[in-house]
Amino acid sequence: MSSQTNKKATMPPEEELALGTDPIPAKPYYCPDFFALEREAIFKRTWLQVGHMSELPEAGSFIVREVDIANASILITRGKDDQVRAFHNVCTHRGTQLVSQKDGTAATFTCPYHAWTFTDKGDLRAAPDFERFYTDKSQCSLPKVSIAVCAQLIFINLDPTPTQSLQEYLGPLAAELETLTVAHATHFSEYVYEIDANWKLSYDNFQENYHLRFIHPRSGEAASGPDNPFGYPVKYGFEDPHRTQTIWHNPGFQPKPTQGFAMGKAVEFALASGVVNIENAKQYYALFPNFFALGSPTQPFTHCIMPIAPNKSRGVIRIYWAGEDQSATQRFSREYNTATAMDIHAEDRSVIEAGQRGLDSGALKHIHFQSQEVLCRHLYTQVERYVTAYQQEQSA
C-alpha cells in the first residue's frame, strides 16, 4: 500500500460520514434491558444462520439448533419429499422438548413423555388415547419456523411472517455468497467457544483490524506489514444492514516453511476443485446480525456469534471444504489451515473478556470508534435502528 493510498484509507469514508462520528453509548454492550430489546427487535425477527445443507445429506436427516437468546430449540428436517422444514422443537401436547439428539436420521419424532408422534412434515401422526382430547390432530402440528437457504447455508427466522424473504434480506450479497466455497461444500471442520462477552463486543473484535499488530503479532504477519502497519482493509462496503471488507495482504509476507507448504497446497487444491472464485478471495462478509463468511480459498470459514446473556456469547467457527480428503497432502493441508484459524481466533479471547469486564463496571458512558472501526459503528447503528423501530411499533 503506497503512502498516498494509506493516507486516503485513513480518511473517513463517505459511508462513515452518513453514520456520524459521535461516540457510541456504552450501555447497549452490557445492559440486560437492552439485551431484552435485542431479543425481540433483532433475533426474533431477522434471518439467522444456523446450519449447512451438508448436515442434511439425505431424506430423513435432521438437525437441532439452539437459539439461546430466544430460548428456542429448532428442529430442522429434510423430508422424504426432499423439502427442508423447520419447527419449534416442542411437543404440542404439553410443551416437552421433542428431540434431544443434536442430529440424526428419523422418519418420525416421538415425544418421550406421552409418546405423541410427529412426521418429518411436523404433522401429528399418532397419540395414545387421543380420543379423550378435546381437539383434533390437525390442530396439533409442530409450530413452523420460517426457513430458507442461500449458498447452502441454512437460515431461520423466528418471525412467523417475515417482512422480507432471505434473498431480499441479503440483497446483492446473496449472489456473492453463492460464489464462495461454502456454496459448494460437502464437508466442514468446526470449533466452538463460549466467551464472557456481549455478542456485539465479541463480533466487533472480528470486524476491525486495528488490534491485529497488538494481539496477533506472530499469527497475523500476513495481514499487516510496513506499508500498512495496522492491516487496514483495502475497501469497505455497506449493504444495509450488512457490511463487507476487502482484506489487505502483506506482499512482503514470508510464510514459515510448513505454513507456506500447507497454504500453497490449499490454494492448489481449491483451484483444482474448480469451485473457488478468486475474485472474492479477499472478501469478508458480515451479515447482520451475527454471522461472518470469508472468501479465502485456504481458510473459507464462517463464524456465527450467538448471544447467550448480556455478557455471554457462543462462537461457532466452521471451515468448509468441497469434497472429502482425496490424499494425505490434502488432509494435512486442511488440518493445518484449520489449526491456524483456531490459533488466530483463540488469541482474541482475553482482550474481548477484559473489554466486557471494563464495560460491565458502568464506568464508561460512551465508547469511541475511529474511522477504521467503521464496521463496528455500522453494526451499532443497525442494532439501534432495529431496536428503535421495534419500540416505535410497541408504542403505536
Binding site: H187, F188, S189, E190, Y191, V192, Y193, E194, I195, P217, R218, S219, K256, P257, T258, Q259, F261, A262, W321, E324, D325, Q326, S327, A328, T329, R331, F332, R334, E335, Y336, T338, A339, T340, M342, D343, H345, A346, E347, R349, S350
Partner: protein
C-alpha cells in the same frame, strides 16, 4: 529397528508413535497443549525432515484405503501440523497462547470422519 506401528521407511519415527498418533483433531490439539517444550521440539525435529517424503508415500493411496500402519503415519503427520504451528509460528509465545486455545473445542474435522 523393528517396526510395529509405522510403515518401514519411517521406522525412525517409531519412538513418537505412542503419543503423537491421536485419533481426532481435538485430541491432537490436546497433545499440543499438554506436551512440554522439549517434547514439542523433539517431535518437530524428527518429523520435519521427513514430512514431504512421508506425504508423498501416503499420496499413493486414497486416505480411505490406508492400512493400519499408514493410518498411524497419517495421524502422526496431522499431529505435526499442530506442532509446526507451535514451533514455527508461535515460538516463545506457545505456552501463553495455549492458555487461550484451551477455551476452543474442536467438534468436527474432516480427517475424523
Amino acid at each position: 529397528m523393528s517396526t510395529q506401528y509405522l510403515p518401514k521407511p519411517f521406522a525412525i519415527l517409531e519412538p513418537f508413535s505412542q503419543y503423537w498418533t491421536a485419533n481426532t483433531a481435538a485430541e491432537r490439539a490436546g497433545c499440543r497443549l499438554n506436551a512440554n517444550p522439549q517434547e514439542r521440539e523433539a517431535f518437530y525435529n524428527a518429523v520435519n525432515p521427513l514430512l514431504h517424503e512421508a506425504l508423498a508415500y501416503l499420496d499413493n493411496k486414497a486416505p480411505r484405503d490406508f492400512n493400519e500402519q499408514e493410518q498411524c503415519l497419517m495421524k502422526m503427520l496431522l499431529s505435526f501440523a499442530h506442532i509446526a504451528l507451535a514451533i514455527e509460528v508461535q515460538g516463545p509465545d506457545e505456552n501463553a497462547q495455549g492458555t487461550l486455545r484451551r477455551h476452543m473445542t474442536i467438534t468436527r474435522a474432516v480427517a475424523d470422519l
